[in-house]
Point group: C2
Chain length 182, copies 2
């Protein structure tokens, strides 16, 4: 799902068709309204989620929606207005898995330039094994490292986050933030 | 600058007036086009920047633009499509201060819920003291901790980032990521 360049066709304020040009005091092309002059900015969005941990196992969710229907993912979704990064990660874990968790540290921050996203995953401690998958999830279950279905992981950021988690776990180290881009 | 709720009035695709309602398979009110059905999402944006360090000093920029004209800030600005978080932080440092830096670790991630933003600051090593402030900056200069104009800092996230930096520095510790919300 690549970003569609110039996907803004009309002004969100007055509905007039926009022109694409570099506004004064700017250095990038923006959608500028030919009527009222409103400048429309498009910027990357955050996808926020968790690695829920129970003992030696992590929680994965089988996707009930496209893209990647039927593939396994970590609970995550778009950060919404009105919440912090941490609140968004907690909300998505509740919505998608119904898991009861307590957030620990931020584990990965991965820029996905091609789609204009930043993926942020927290390590989280599961407080119990109760699960209640939401409508976007076919199934939620715990996996030991050797059980992880690596060939059926939905997204590269999920794979990289799981790899970082298990590498730290095996090393018996702390879980430092891993930054990268994909 | 609070977020204006319902600021989308017209569809970006076809220009028709939008309705605000909760789409099927969603749980939040969105601007939905009454003509073509396009759903418009609004999400938090990332502001990315650096704490440029030269010996015992940090680099601050005096703002030449509103909001907070004349107040001091760290080089930072909105992350753009087509770049990683790190590339955005580097770009803003070049644009606003003309400083030559090398990024080190991520120092703070601060959610600013009231305005729908996440502020991300890297610690950065200045490679020399050459500066070339851009049009958004009246002046760029280095400050020892005791010289920092705490009463003239433009934003709370900048203040908190500087406080975290100097606290780590005084403690002679590493510079762990500080997450928070404002």
């Amino acid at each position: 799902m690549l970003i569609d360049p110039r996907r803004i066709k009309h002004c969100r304020h007055c509905g007039t068709a926009v022109d694409y040009r570099v506004p004064d005091d700017d250095n990038r092309e923006r959608a500028v309204c030919a009527g009222c002059g409103t400048i429309h900015y498009e910027n990357p969005l955050n996808v926020v989620g968790t690695v829920p941990v129970w003992g030696e196992q992590v929680l994965l969710c089988k996707r009930a929606i496209e893209p990647r229907y039927g593939f396994w993912t970590l609970p995550a979704g778009f950060m919404e207005l009105g919440e912090t990064v941490a609140q968004g990660a907690l909300r998505e874990t509740t919505e998608e898995a119904g898991a009861n968790i307590e957030l620990e540290g931020l584990l990965t921050m991965l820029s996905v330039v091609r789609v204009g996203q930043v993926h942020l995953f927290y390590k989280a401690r599961m407080l119990d094994t109760a699960l209640d998958p939401g409508p976007e999830t076919l199934e939620a279950r715990l996996f030991h490292e050797h059980e992880v279905p690596w060939d059926e992981i939905a997204f590269r950021t999920v794979r990289e986050t799981l790899q970082h988690f298990f590498a730290c776990r095996r090393a018996g180290s702390a879980y430092p933030l891993h930054c990268g881009d994909i």
